[in-house]
Symmetry: C2
Subunit: 373 residues, 2 copies
């Protein structure tokens, strides 16, 4: 006999799976999946496809053709909304459906609303269970969870390094630290984030596409090139970012001290740009993130070199970090690595990763988590 909790877990797993069909496509809304279970089987399901689209619960309820029995249960990965949004409150729809059991993966991360949906359902005589596969339900919405609380984009940073912390040889050479499987996994995260940022150095050296090339096609998020001084414009026409089918999705971010001629040259090429202030010869990343917020971009995936990564981490601009680690030792003090010459005194000056997830890709490991601030 399968325990009741195992059945619930299996149904919630299915709800998570269908929620993820909209991976990266729901911004600034969360991914949500819902299933209706009757006689131990899923008889209806739905997921939130895109911002402005119907909520998962509504789709599941609309496609439910039965008459709820006492044990009929709606499972939903995220607490149903109790406020009238563009699509009407989900709690009302659940109450009207006659379903008397609701199982919720995780509560609304917005402190203003967290628990309100549960209270509303319970006050209508519905039995509510909260916290089935809670971690997985919360985890898939790292961008939304941050955005809804802070109204600032989740600033995520992706780096690859050897076991001894090297991101490149002393020459800057870094192809490749990790194997193919790990590099493919990056595509998955590029697709999750609504925006990706790299430095001009990376563009000049690697001419990247920054697209997400997955089995179901090529996908392109908003692309940012951090180019404080507007260097290398003469080669822009040769770079994928400014010439491919998605070139309208590339924005150059430059510093307020960039010379006027270059700003004009950029404009003449019809390339979109954002201007931000500078301090200590660096772009003001917080201002860049504020601009993202103003433009309703809830998350930015930055793929930096060692220098920018160090700056972002030391500056506490990073919320979340992805480290692809290969089981190699470069054994070179001159290899590019994180950090400044700050003369640390004690080991507990280290910054911690929290809520750490680890995943294997061939011989490499992805280690990811929040950076404690």
């Amino acid at each position: 006999m399968i325990a009741e909790s195992e059945k619930l877990n299996a149904h919630m797993e299915h709800a998570i799976r269908i929620a993820k069909k909209a991976w990266g496509q729901t911004h600034s809304n969360p991914m949500v999946g819902a299933v209706i279970v009757e006689d131990g089987k899923i008889v209806s399901e739905g997921y939130h496809e895109r911002s402005g689209g119907k909520h998962a619960e509504i789709i599941a309820l609309e496609s439910y053709k039965g008459t709820p029995k006492a044990e009929t249960t709606l499972l939903v990965t995220l607490e149903p909304c109790s406020t009238e949004g563009r699509t009407g409150a989900c709690t009302n729809a659940i109450i009207h459906s006659g379903i008397k059991n609701v199982v919720i993966g995780t509560l609304d991360p917005n402190p203003k609303h967290s628990g309100a949906g549960v209270t509303f359902l319970e006050s209508a005589g519905i039995s509510v269970t909260v916290g089935v596969l809670e971690e997985a339900c919360r985890e898939m919405n790292i961008i939304f969870n941050h955005w809804i609380v802070h109204k600032r984009p989740l600033c995520a940073l992706k780096i690859a390094m050897t076991l001894d912390g090297c991101m490149a040889a002393s020459t800057g050479h870094s192809k490749w630290i990790t194997g193919e499987l790990a590099r493919e996994d990056v595509m998955h995260w590029r697709r999750l984030f609504p925006a990706i940022a790299v430095t001009q150095n990376t563009v000049s050296a690697d001419n990247p596409r920054l697209t997400s090339r997955l089995n179901d096609g090529i996908f392109c998020s908003q692309r940012f090139v951090l180019n404080r001084e507007l260097r290398d414009l003469e080669n822009y026409k040769n770079y994928h970012l400014f010439s491919d089918d998605f070139k309208s999705k590339t924005i150059v971010v430059y510093g307020m001290n960039a010379v006027k001629d270059r700003v004009e040259a950029l404009e003449a090429m019809g390339i979109q740009s954002w201007k931000v202030s500078e301090s200590e010869g660096k772009l003001n990343i917080d201002e860049f993130l504020n601009l993202c917020a103003e433009n309703a971009i809830p998350g930015v995936f930055i793929e930096p070199g060692a220098q920018l990564a160090t700056h972002l981490i030391a500056n506490r601009s990073v919320d979340y970090i992805y480290i692809y680690q290969s089981p190699k030792l470069l054994m070179d003090q001159k290899g590019h690595s994180l950090g400044t010459e700050r003369s640390s005194q004690l080991m507990n000056e280290s910054m911690h990763l929290l809520d750490v997830k680890r995943e294997l890709f061939g011989e490499d490991t992805l280690i990811r988590g929040y950076l404690r601030k």
Copy 2:
């Protein structure tokens, strides 16, 4: 219905479990476990307790009280020996027992004997299966497997580091990089290895015991202190290594250029010592390992600082490496880390870990594997 292979796996798992009762106690022999299965059940079992003791198969056969049926099966983690040793060839005992089915975890790692036991059994009409839980059966004998082939000790190195490769703050402070669970796990490996080595720096700074303090008591391997110049002798009486119940298990390794007074002072204290040559102001570690070999020590677990670790790895003296890694970033270029200023050109100059195993201890990970030479 459980598939036949799953049953075999479960029985082999039991054989591995009982083999490990002798964890670290069988040197220079391997750990081996054997079970006899009849009617789907284990009816007899045995494991090799110590060098010179009975082999696992012999114990299992001696305690088997039945008469073998056609399906009665002996499972053993390691290929039975076919040469007459101190305890008689196991293959003969199996043939005489009348058991007609033998399942072997992994072949004898000694190329001279590998497969000979199988051939011998098969030529006597016994059905032999090889390779059930092969990896786990081989893995538990990393020391023996190396020793029997190379007749040199497996030189293993244990270090702890942050994600960005720091083994200590710029001041040398390193307590603690990892959490309690990871530090407890070290005990497990100290007990596996017949010898442990640290530098005088570590002794002076930390006054370690280097004992293995586990639930079933305190255990002490052979302890080596690498003290090229015989520094700090005046404090030796205060150090655990030279004053505890196991002080007779501590040997000081010094360089041929150590001053005579100090050598005499060491001898006057009644402390055992080994003298090895020096090159470039460092102890000749290969000579130390040769001395271990001469003294029938099949494995050495070295717990070094960043400097010795770098020397050992760069010098290709290390066979196996244990890295306890915490999800922290020290972000200090002056933090102690591996490597010399060797100006690497390409990322593929990195050294690879092979046969990598990963294990979680709280928030920390143990990453271990062979260092490709």
